[in-house]
Structure formats: structure tokens, C-alpha cells
Subunit: 113 residues, 2 copies
Amino acid sequence: MPVPLYQAKAEFFRILGHPVRIRVLELLQGGPMPVRDLLAEIDVEPSSLSQQLAVLRRAGIVSATREGSTVVYELSTSDIADLMRAARRILTEMITSREGLLAELKAAEEEDR
Amino acid sequence: MPVPLYQAKAEFFRILGHPVRIRVLELLQGGPMPVRDLLAEIDVEPSSLSQQLAVLRRAGIVSATREGSTVVYELSTSDIADLMRAARRILTEMITSREGLLAELKAAEEEDR
DNA sequence: CGACCAATTGAAGAATTCTTCAAGTCATCT
DNA sequence: AGATGACTTGAAGAATTCTTCAATTGGTCG
């Protein structure tokens, strides 16, 4: 019996809900990347990055292959990019509409003087 | 100084990472809905649903308006639907590719006999 | 082989998030 | 006003997740 889809969805989003993991996914959108390079871009300690990479790996969102002494990561599916795009659209939408609200409040405040 | 976008993204996904909250968002895609109806669809206690609705409200993802003695919720932005669609695509993709892998493993196992 | 770099793992304590229950608010009805 | 129904809130303990550090694995080089 399969896990209900809404539960799988929740779990999936929960996995994305971490700053380091998001950074990793954003970087991997440009193509496969060795840990070394991820480390250079994301301000975090090696062991900490590894922990988060392990989370993404267990969830099947990224996969790793060893090449000599370095390990290269890549997205399991390029669809991730769409998701990120959708998220960005929502966030900018939410932020600008909230700024709009703030502006209105501020204007109302001015009028009160 | 604004919060870095990747951090806002992580926070946003974290908010989506809960089964009840996902169910709510799915249901609200059909349009505004009173708490009563949400309660009828989602197997959860009233106070528990309220807690999760509060999380979504604080994040600005849904908004509530009181109409008489009932409270009606709705999505703050309809873009949420796109996000859900993208997530569903990724999940089904990941699941089917994993099933493919399982099938291969099973076949290899047969050969071993 | 021994030293060293790259990355991962295990484990423990700290921090966050969930669940639940009792109490509270707001509107409606008699 | 008092009682009832619809939701929400606050708070405490349980459960999860994060962070960090020490130990470990795999590979390369002298």
C-alpha cells in the first residue's frame, strides 16, 4: 500500500526546507558539481555539508558518484529547476504584495499627522 | 538588509512540509473554504487544524476572513497551484524511476538463482 | 607502507517543531 | 443575559531535526 501522495509531498517539501540544502540544489542546477566546489560556494563546514548532502541523497533528490578522490553530485531529475522557479515566483509575489501593503500603511500614517 | 532569497525559500518550503498543511493547500486550490469544510475533509482535530492554519497564516500563504460565525480561508496567491503541480511531477518522476530501479534489481536477483 | 587530503559517518546535546488539552473569544439563538 | 457552536490560543511534554566534533573510509603521493 503506497504512502498517500499528500504525505510524500509534505516529506518532499520538508527536505527542501533548509538553507544549505536549497543552496546545493540551486548550484546543481548548473550541472554536476564536486563537493569541493559546493564547499567553496556555501559558507558551511565540510561535515555539515556532508550531513545535508546525505539528507538529499536519502530522499533520492540528488545522486553522488566518486571520481578519483573527489565526489561529484548531481540532481536526480532536472524538474527541480521548475519547482525552484515556481517557488521564486511565489516568494517575489508575496514579498511585493506585502511591500505594497506596507506602503499603504505608511501612507495612511502620514495622513494621520 | 533583506533576508537572502535562499533563506526565504528554505523557510517557505519548510512551511509546506507538513501533511495537514499540504492537504489544506490542496483543498484551497478549489477556492475559498470555511474551516468547517476543511475539517470535514482532513482527519484531524479542530484545535490541531487551527494550529496549522495559524502557521500558514503567519507565513502569509493563506488569509482568513470571518463571515458570521464561520471563518473562511483562501490562498493568498493562486501561484501555489503551479508549485503543487511541479512537486507532483517531480514526485511521480522520482517514484517511477525508483520503481524502474527496483524492477532491475529484482530481475538481477532472478538471474542469480 | 606511512602521511595526507577529500568526504562521510556516528553520536550527543541544543534547538525547533508537533501534538494535545484546557481555556478563551466571537457571534448566534432563546 | 445565559447557553451553545465555531474557531483560536497558550502552554507543556514528546518527537524531530540541527549542529558539531571526533573518528573513519577511500584515494593519492612520496
